[in-house]
Amino acid sequence: MFLIQLEHPLHRFRTSSHKICLFYEKNCTMTHNPPLTPCFHCGLSVPEGLDIQVNINGNNEAMCCYGCQAVAQSIINSGMGDFYKFRTMRSQKAREVVPEFLQQLKAYDNPQVQKQFISEKSELTGDEQVREVSLILEGIVCAACIWLNEQHLNALPGVISANINYSNNRARVRWDNNRISLSEILESITRIGYLAHPYNPDRQQAVIEKEKKQQLRRIGIAAVLGMQIMILAVALYTGGWWGMEEPFRQLFRWVSLGVTVPLLLFASSPFFSAALRDLKNKRVGMDVPVALGIGIAFSASVLHTFQGSGEIYFDSVAMFTFFLLSARYFESGARKRTAEATEALLNLQPAIATKLIVDSDGGYDHQKQLNLSVAELAIGDYVLVRPGEHIPVDGTIIEGTSGINESLLTGESLPVIKTVNDSVIGGSTNTESPLVVKIDKIGDDTVLASIQRLLEEAQNRKPTIAKMADRLASKFVAIILLLAGGVAVYWYQTDPAHWVAITVATLVVTCPCALSLATPAAFTAASGQLAKLGLLPTSATALETLSRATDFVFDKTGTLTQGNIRLVKAVSLTDDDIEHHLHIAAALEAGSEHPVARSLIQAAGETTQVRPSIKVSQLDNKAGAGVHGVIEGTQWYLGNVNYIHQICAQSISSTLLAEHQISAMTLVALATETKIVAVFAFDDELREEASALIRKLKQQNKTITLMTGDNEASARRIASQVGIDNVYANMKPADKLARVQSMQQRGAIVAMTGDGINDAPVLAGADVSIAMGSGTQLAAAHADLILLSNHVEHLYAGYLISRRTLKIIRQNLSWAFGYNLLAIPAAATGHVDPWMAAIGMSASSLLVVLNALRLTRS
C-alpha cells in the first residue's frame, strides 16, 4: 500500500540510478530540486510536492509544514490577518502541537506549582477569581508579533488584561481562573506559534525596577536644574569678560545657589553615600574624588556667594553630577539587559514530579498519581518518569528499561541504557519508555548538588585579574588627593587669599569625570554591539579578559556540536531506494522518544514530503537493542549492529563502512529475517560555523583545546573535523577544572565555552567563561558572557569587539591622563581660571563619550 503512495509525487524528481542514495550530507540536500517557494509564515522553503495552503487576506499562501499551517490558520480564524501586513520579519517555524506538550502545560494548573509565580488579586473578589502571571515569550521577532499576542490574549474569554513590554518581551496577564485556566492561556499562545513560560518576577527584579526609576529621576533633575545653572554661569563668565554690574552678579550667585541645593541634595547624594561607604571600608574608589570635588566646589561657591566676591563653581557641580549619573545609568542598563536574558533561561522547566502513591502494603499503583514540586519529594518515594521528562532527583530504577540521556551531566551524546536496579542521576532525561524510580538521594546529596559545590569552590579560587581602569584610577585618585593637599598647604602659606580657589580649580580640572566615564561608556557601547550578535557580557571585566585570552577551551556536545544527533547518511543495500527503507524505519520507530528514532522520523518527514501510512503490527521494543514489527506480512528488524547480527547473522561489511566513512558513527541497521537492507549512520552534527570559528581563532595564534566527557573516538573525530589538536576525552567536571587550572599555572588566560551542568565548574574556574544560551541554567548563571544566539562563530566577532573595546578604553584613559598631566600643573600653579577648568572638564568628558561611540559603528 505504501509502495503505491510512494510512487506518487516524489518519484518525479528521482534520478535513474538511485540504488544507493546518499543524502543529508551537507549542502546536498535537495540540490536537484528547482528553486522553491518560501513558506508564507516562516520563510523556509516549501518542500516539493507538499501542497498545503492557507487563505490569507484573500490570497492562497503556501505553507512549508502542518505546524505553520495550523498557526497561520488559527491567526486568520481569530481575525488577525493584519499580522501578516504589519510584520517586518518572518515568523519562526511553527511546531506542531503534540498532546504530550499539552499534558506538560497542564502541570501549570497545579496550585503547588502556581504558587511559585502567580499572584492572587484579592481586591477584585466577587464571582471572579483573578490571578496574575508574568510570562516570558519566545519566538517574538518583531513588533507585529507583540501586537498579535496582545490581541490574541485579550480576545480570550476570561482574560482580563494582557500587556506585553516591547523591550524585554515580557507579558503580564491577568485572568479569571473560574473562566479560563493558565494552561489554556499558554496553549492558546502555542496555537499562534509562540512559546510562553511563566516566570517569577522576584523581589530582586522589583528592587532593580525601583532603583532604575530613582536613577532616572536623578538624571532628569540634574539635567533640568543643571541647564538652568549653566545659563546663569555663562552669563557670569561673559559678564566677567565684558563687565557686569555687581548687583546682578550677586543675584546670579544667589539664584545659582538656590537651584544647586536641591540638585545636590537629591541628584548627587549617591556619590556621597558611596564615598562614605568606601571610606568606611578603607578603600579609595572613584566616588571619593567625585564626592570631594563636588563637596569642595560647592562649599567654596557657597562661601563666595556669602562673601559676595570670588568665583562660583555651581555649574561644575551640576555637570559632574549629570555626566556621572548618565554613565552609571547606561552601564546598569546594559547589565539589566543581561540579567533579564539570563532570567529567561532560568525557570523554563517546571520543577514538577509525578509521585506514585504507595498503598498500605508497600506497593504502588500507576493510576494513583500526584503532581507535586520536586522540593516536596522525600527519600523512598516512587516517581513516574515519562519519556521526554527529566528525572527529578537521584534514584534507582524499580520498573522499566529505557535510554537515559545524561549529556548535560557527562557530555556523552547518546542515551545510556538503564534498567531495573540501575541508578539514575537527577537532571538527566528519560528518552524511551516510562520508568518508575525510587528516590535515593535528595537535596545536598545529589550528584547535581555536588557539581554545584565544585562550582562554588572553583569560583572562589578563580584568578582575579583586577580591572585595569579601577587599578589605574585608584592610584590616580591617591595621587590627586596628595597633590591637592600639597597645593592647599603651599598656597595657604604663600597666598592665603587664593588658596581655596586654586585648590578647587585643581580638583575640578583633574576631571574625575573623564576617568570614570572611560570604562562604562566603552562597555555600554560594546555591549550594545554584542547584544546584536546575541552575546551578552555581564561585566566590563569579562570583555577585558576575553580580549586578553590566550587559550580557548571548548566543550564538545552542545557547544561545537548541535547537541542532538541527526541522520547523516543512509545507505540502501538492495534495489529498493533508500526512501522506501527510511519510511519503514520511521514507521517502526514512530512511538519512540529515543534521539535515533526522532531523527529517523524527522529525516523521513523532510525528504519525502508525503507520509505514507504504513501500518505496523506486533511492534516490540527491545530497549537498548532495537525494534521489531510486522509490515504487510514481512518481519522487519531495526536496531544496532549486535541486535541485527543476532537476527539475521549478517554484519555490515567494513568496506561499506570505509566507503561511506561512517565507521566512527552510531550505526543502525534495517533488516528482514534474512538480510540487512539498509544502514543508517547518525552523528551529533557539528555546528556549521564551528570550523570557521576555530580557524579564525587559530589565525590569531590562540591555543585551542577540546575537553569533553564523551569518549575518545567521537572527541577525536569532531576535533579533526574542526581542526583542534589538543583533545581531552572522558573528562569529569573535576578533571576539566584541574586541567584548566594547570593551564592557568602555566600563565595562560583561559576562555572556556560550554553549555552543560558538567561544564559549570570549569566555566566558573576559567578566567573568562562563555555559556551557550541553549545550555543549562547552571552553566549560564555563572558565566561571564552568554551566547544567546547559539551561533558559535559570533564568539569570534565578540572577541574582536572586546579587543576594540579595550583599545577604546585605553585611548580614553590615556586621554584623561594626558589631559590631567597638562592641566594639573597649570591649575596647581594658579594659571587656570574656573571657566577654563569647566570647559576643559566638559570637553574631555565629551571626547571620551564620543570615542566610545565609535564602537557602535561596525
Binding site: S78, D82, Q151, A155, S161, G220, G258
Partner: protein, 61 residues
C-alpha cells in the same frame, strides 16, 4: 536690565513645572517601555476583531 527680576523667577517657575511633569512621567511608567508606543499607534486602531474593549495598555499597579 530690571526685566531680569521678573524673568528669572519666571524661568524658575518654568523649571519647577518641567521637573514636576518629569517626575510625574517617571512615576506613571512612561519610561518603562520606550519602543512599544511607537508600534502600538500604528496597529492598535486596525483591529476590529476584539469582542472586548477594555484592554487599554495602562498601568495596573
Amino acid at each position: 536690565m530690571e526685566a531680569l527680576y521678573l524673568l528669572i523667577p519666571l524661568a524658575l517657575l518654568l523649571v519647577a513645572i518641567i521637573v514636576w511633569i518629569f517626575l510625574w512621567a517617571v512615576k506613571s511608567d512612561q519610561f518603562d517601555d520606550l519602543e512599544g508606543p511607537a508600534h502600538r499607534i500604528i496597529m492598535e486602531d486596525d483591529d476590529k476583531v476584539k469582542e472586548k474593549t477594555d484592554n487599554e495598555p495602562s498601568d495596573h499597579k
